[in-house]
C-alpha cells in the first residue's frame, strides 16, 4: 500500500517546527509502524536528507521509549498497544497519517518526535521507592501478601513510563503516571512505612514539573498502552488527603 505521512519536523527545542509531507510507498501489512518509518528514513538517508528523529528501543512494548501521536491519538489507534507494536495492517492504501510528538509543557521537544521526559524520573526520585538498604531484607516469605493485593500492585507497576497519559490529557497532567507508582508501592505492606511521605513528595514534585492538574477526563486511561486504571488516581487522592491531614495534625 502507499501512504501519505505528515510528520512533525523540528530541528531543535527553539525551532518553531512544522509538518512535512512524505510518501511511504510499498508499505507491507506485516510491517510494524516503526518499521514503516525505518523504511522512509532509509530512503531519506539515501537521498542525503536527515531522517525523522523518533525514540524507540525494545520494540516489544515494554521499555516505554517510543511514543508519538498518530492521527491525534498517543501511540495510535490500537488499544493497549505502544506505537512500536502497532502494525500496518491497520491501514489502507491511500491513507493519510499525521505524526506528532508528545505535546506537554512537562515534555519539551528535543528534536522532531523526540521529547525530554526526565521530569518523570524526578517524580520517582522524590519518593517513588521503598527504602530497603541492600542486604537488610528479611526472608522474602516473612511477610505474606494477599494475592489480590499483589495482583493489584502489579497492575499499577505495569506502567512503562512512556508519557502517553500526559500527551492524552487536555491539561497535560501526569496524575496517571504518578498515581500508578504511588499505588504500586502503597498497596504493598513493604511500602506502608513511607506511604504518607511518598504521596506528598511525589505530588509536590509533579506540580513543580509544569504538569497540569487532573480534572477527571479519563483520556489518560484510554491512551495508556498498559491499561493503567484511573482508579489509581482515586487511590492517590485518598492517600494524599489522609497524608495531608495527618501531616497538619
Amino acid at each position: 500500500m502507499n501512504l501519505t505521512l505528515h510528520v512533525w519536523r523540528q530541528a531543535s527545542p527553539d525551532d518553531r517546527g512544522r509538518f512535512v509531507t512524505y510518501e511511504a510507498l510499498d508499505v507491507e501489512a506485516h510491517m510494524s509502524f516503526l518499521e514503516m518509518l525505518d523504511v522512509v528514513n532509509e530512503g531519506l538517508e539515501e537521498r542525503g536528507e536527515e531522517p525523522i528523529a523518533f525514540d524507540h528501543d525494545c520494540r516489544e512494548g515494554i521499555c516505554g521509549t517510543c511514543g508519538m501521536v498518530v492521527n491525534g491519538r498517543p501511540h495510535g489507534p490500537w488499544k493497549r498497544t505502544t506505537v512500536c507494536q502497532l502494525h500496518m495492517r491497520e491501514y489502507r492504501d491511500g491513507d493519510d497519517i499525521w505524526i506528532e510528538p508528545w505535546r506537554a509543557a512537562g515534555f519539551p521537544v528535543i528534536r522532531d518526535l523526540v521529547v525530554d521526559r526526565t521530569s518523570l524520573d524526578r517524580i520517582v526520585a522524590a519518593g517513588g521507592f521503598i527504602s530497603a538498604r541492600t542486604g537488610s531484607a528479611p526472608d522474602a516469605n516473612a511477610i505474606p501478601v494477599p494475592k489480590a493485593h499483589a495482583e493489584r500492585a502489579m497492575d499499577a507497576a505495569s506502567c512503562i513510563g512512556c508519557g502517553a497519559c500526559v500527551a492524552a490529557c487536555p491539561n497535560a497532567s501526569a496524575m496517571l503516571f504518578t498515581s500508578a507508582k504511588v499505588a504500586h508501592l502503597n498497596l504493598l505492606p513493604q511500602g506502608r512505612p513511607e506511604k504518607a511521605m511518598r504521596v506528598i513528595d511525589m505530588v509536590l514534585q509533579m506540580e513543580a514539573e509544569n504538569f497540569g492538574s487532573c480534572t477527571n477526563h479519563g483520556a489518560c486511561e484510554t491512551a495508556c498502552p498498559k491499561d493503567i486504571s484511573v482508579d489509581f488516581i482515586a487511590l492517590l487522592n485518598r492517600d494524599y488527603l489522609s497524608a495531608a491531614v495527618g501531616r497538619s495534625g
Partner: protein, 637 residues
C-alpha cells in the same frame, strides 16, 4: 596479559565468605572521597550504582537512554531463579550450582557459579523488600514455576514482566540515591572510550546524544554494566540501541575479551516476516511449560495446523528427550528446531518456523488459567502476527538473544585492566557456553547488589590514587581520539546507508557464526568482514551534523565496532575445535547430533588480547578446573 582468576582457596561453600573477610575495607568516612563511575543502568548497573551510593561512595551513573528505566533488562519476561526451595521439591544451592555448571556445558568457573547460586536467595529477599510484585499463591506466599534445563520449580516471576519489575526495583533504589544527591545521574550520554592513567582505568569519555558534546569524566574506578552484543547479528531479540561499543573500547584499551563466540540463540521467538524486519521478538521460554512443540510428520504438509491430526504431528522434543521434553535447555531446543526446518518440516510461509501449541494445556487447565499465566505474551503475539494463539498454535523460530561471552573478569569482577570492573551480561560471566533460562536476571543482580560493591572496595583500598586533573595528558589525549573518530564518521559521504552495512554484517554472522558453524563458513566470514569494514568506512554515509541529536551518527559509531567484534567472534569460533553449549561446530557432534565437547583440548576460557588495527589478536587461556561437578556428556534424555 596476565590471567589471575583470584579464586579463593578452601571448600567451595566457604570461598565467598572467606574472601569477603580477607578483602580490604575502605573506612566508611573515606568512602565519600572515592568516586566510582558506573556505565549502564540495567539490572547490573542500577543495582551496583544504588548499592555503592548506599555504602557511601560518590557515584556517577551514565546511560545513553533518556531514563535508566529503559535499559534492556526491562524486556526480560520469564523469571529469575533462586535456590529458595519454597516448593520443597528438593532444590538447594548445590543443585542450582550443579544445574548451572552443567547447563553451561562445563565452560564456566565453578567458584563463580557457586557464589551466584548462594546469592540467588538474597536477591529475592531484596527484591521483595523493594516492592517487586512477584506472583503469589492465595496464602500470600511467593509462587514459582519451572524453566528450561531444570527439574525443580525455582523460578520467581511477575507475570511475563519479571525483568521490568526487577529493573524498576533497582531503578527506584537508584533514583532514591539520585534524589538524595549520592548518585549523579547522566542520561543521554554514551561512553566512547576508557581513560587509562598509569595502566589503571581512571575515567571515561562520553558523547552527549543531545548536544553532541564530547566530555571526560574521571574517578577512582570504572564499572561497565553495558549489556551484550547480540545486535552484531543485526536481527536479534535485543533492543535497537544495544551495542558493544563501551566493552569494545575497553577491549581496545587492553581488557581481554573472553569467549566472544559463546552466543545464545533463543528457541522461542516470532519468525522473520520480511526484509524490512528491524528486530525479532522473543516469546518467554516459560511458554514451553505448557506449550508443546511440533512440526508436521510429513515434510511440506501445507494444511492448517488444526487440520493436522495427532498422528500426523511430530512432537520431536518429547520424542527425542523423554525426560525433559519441551523443557530441554535453550541450545538444544534451538538446534532441533533448525534441524527440523533444514529437513523441510518447517511451517509458515518462509518454512523457518515450528509450532508451539497450547491446545492441550487449554483443554486441561482452561483458557482462563492460560490467560492468567501468559495473557500478555499471547496478546503480543497476536498484535505482531495477526493470529490468535488461543485458537491456533504459535509459530516460533530461534533468534540471537544473549551473549555468554564478554570482557574477562576475575573473581572480583575486575577485568585485565586494573580498576575496570565489568558486571552483568557485559562480562564473560557465569553461564559458560550456554545460559539457562531465568539466570540472566539472577547474575546481573548478584553482580550489582552483592558482589561488585564489596570487591571494588578491595581495589579502592589498595589502589586509590590522587585525583586526575581534567587537563592530564592521558585525559586530553583520549578526548581528542574520540573527537577525531566522531569527525571521521561525520565526514563519511558514500553511497551506502549505515543500516545496509549492518544488515549485511548480520546476515554474514547469522549464516556463518550463528546456530551452526563450520570451519569453511567461518573462514568465508573472516575473509568478508574486513572488506565489509573497509566498505563501511569508504562507502557508507552519515547525514546530519555532530552538534545535535543525530541518530544516524549514533548507529554508525556502534556498527563500526560491531564490524570489528564480528571478526573476533569468528576467529574465536574457528579456534574452538569442539562443540559446547551454544557453540556448535558441525565437525564436532555425536552420532545423535549433540554437541561433542573436547575437554582435553578446550576446557578453558579463550581470552583475546587486542594488539592493534593491523595485527591479529592474541589468544590467552584460563584453564577451567572442575572439582565438584564432573564434566560429562550433557544428557536431557
Amino acid at each position: 596479559m596476565k590471567l589471575d582468576s583470584r579464586i579463593p582457596s578452601g571448600p567451595i561453600a566457604q570461598k565467598w565468605d572467606q574472601h569477603k573477610f580477607e578483602m580490604k575495607l575502605v573506612n566508611p568516612a573515606n568512602k565519600r572521597k572515592h568516586h566510582v563511575i558506573v556505565v549502564g543502568s540495567g539490572l547490573a548497573g542500577a543495582s551496583a550504582a544504588a548499592t555503592l551510593a548506599e555504602l557511601g561512595y560518590a557515584v556517577t551513573c551514565f546511560t545513553y537512554h533518556d531514563s535508566p528505566r529503559r535499559a534492556h533488562s526491562i524486556a526480560a519476561q520469564g523469571g529469575i531463579n533462586a535456590a529458595k526451595n519454597y516448593q520443597g521439591d528438593g532444590d538447594s544451592i548445590y543443585r542450582l550450582f550443579y544445574d548451572t555448571v552443567k547447563g553451561g556445558d562445563f565452560r564456566s568457573r565453578e567458584a563463580n557459579v557457586y557464589r551466584l547460586a548462594q546469592l540467588s536467595v538474597n536477591i529475592i529477599d531484596q527484591a521483595v523488600a523493594q516492592g517487586v510484585p512477584f506472583a503469589r499463591e492465595y496464602g500470600g506466599m511467593l509462587a514459582n514455576r519451572s524453566f528450561g534445563g531444570a527439574q525443580v520449580s525455582r523460578t520467581f516471576y511477575a507475570r511475563g514482566q519479571t525483568g521490568q519489575q526487577l529493573l524498576l526495583g533497582a531503578y527506584q533504589a537508584l533514583m532514591k540515591q539520585v534524589g538524595s544527591g549520592a548518585v549523579r545521574l547522566r542520561p543521554m550520554k554514551e561512553m566512547h572510550d576508557l581513560i587509562l592513567v598509569d595502566g589503571h582505568a581512571r575515567g571515561i569519555v562520553t558523547r552527549d546524544l543531545i548536544s553532541g558534546e564530547i566530555e571526560s569524566w574521571t574517578a577512582d574506578a570504572v564499572v561497565l554494566g553495558t549489556g551484550g552484543y547480540s545486535n552484531v547479528f543485526y536481527l536479534s531479540t535485543n533492543a535497537m540501541k544495544c551495542n558493544v561499543t563501551a566493552a569494545w573500547r575497553a577491549h581496545k584499551r587492553g581488557a581481554g575479551f573472553a569467549n566472544p563466540c559463546f552466543t545464545q540463540i533463543h528457541p522461542t521467538c516470532i519468525p522473520v516476516s520480511g526484509e524490512y524486519q528491524s528486530k525479532l521478538t522473543l516469546m518467554s521460554e516459560s511458554l514451553r511449560n505448557d506449550g508443546r512443540i511440533w512440526v508436521p510428520r510429513n515434510a511440506g504438509d501445507g494444511r492448517a495446523p488444526n487440520e493436522i491430526s495427532a498422528a500426523d504431528r511430530d512432537y520431536y522434543l518429547e520424542r527425542m528427550y523423554p525426560s525433559f521434553g519441551n523443557l530441554v535447555p535453550r541450545d538444544l531446543a534451538s538446534r532441533r528446531a533448525k534441524d527440523m526446518c533444514d529437513d523441510g518440516y518447517g511451517v509458515g510461509s518462509s518454512g523457518r518456523g515450528v509450532y508451539l501449541d497450547f491446545a492441550d494445556a487449554i483443554e486441561r487447565l482452561g483458557e482462563e488459567a492460560i490467560r492468567e499465566r501468559y495473557g500478555n505474551l499471547f496478546e503480543m503475539y497476536e498484535r505482531i502476527t495477526g493470529e490468535n494463539p488461543y485458537g491456533q498454535p504459535m509459530r516460533i523460530y530461534p533468534a540471537p538473544h544473549y551473549t555468554m561471552g564478554g570482557l574477562w573478569v576475575d573473581y572480583n569482577l575486575m577485568s585485565t585492566i586494573p580498576g575496570l570492573h565489568v558486571i552483568g551480561e557485559a562480562n564473560f560471566s557465569d553461564h559458560g557456553a550456554n545460559r539457562l533460562g531465568a539466570s540472566a536476571l539472577m547474575q546481573g543482580l548478584a553482580d550489582g547488589y552483592f558482589i561488585l560493591p564489596y570487591t571494588i572496595g578491595d581495589y579502592i583500598a589498595r589502589h586509590a590514587g590522587d585525583p586526575i586533573a581534567p587537563d592530564h595528558p592521558d585525559v586530553a589525549g583520549t578526548v581528542e581520539g574520540v573527537k577525531s573518530r566522531t569527525a571521521r564518521l561525520l565526514a563519511m559521504d558514500g553511497n551506502r546507508t549505515v543500516e545496509s552495512v549492518h544488515r549485511e554484517l548480520g546476515r554474514l554472522m547469522w549464516d556463518n557464526c550463528g546456530m551452526a558453524r563450520t570451519a569453511t563458513g567461518l573462514r568465508t566470514a573472516l575473509e568478508r568482514i574486513p572488506t565489509l569494514r573497509e566498505e563501511f568506512w569508504e562507502d557508507a554515509k552519515v547525514v546530519g551534523g555532530g552538534g545535535t541529536l543525530n541518530q544516524v551518527l549514533e548507529r554508525a559509531a556502534r556498527v563500526a565496532d560491531f564490524l570489528e567484534l564480528g571478526e573476533l567472534m569468528c576467529r574465536d569460533a574457528l579456534a574452538r575445535e569442539e562443540s559446547c553449549g551454544g557453540h556448535f561446530r558441525e565437525e564436532h557432534q555425536t552420532p545423535e547430533g549433540e554437541a561433542k565437547r573436547n575437554d582435553d583440548g578446550f576446557s578453558h576460557a579463550s581470552v583475546w588480547g587486542y594488539t592493534g588495527e593491523d595485527s591479529a589478536p592474541v589468544e590467552h587461556r584460563e584453564p577451567l578446573e572442575f572439582e565438584y561437578v564432573t564434566p560429562s556428556q550433557r544428557s536431557y534424555k
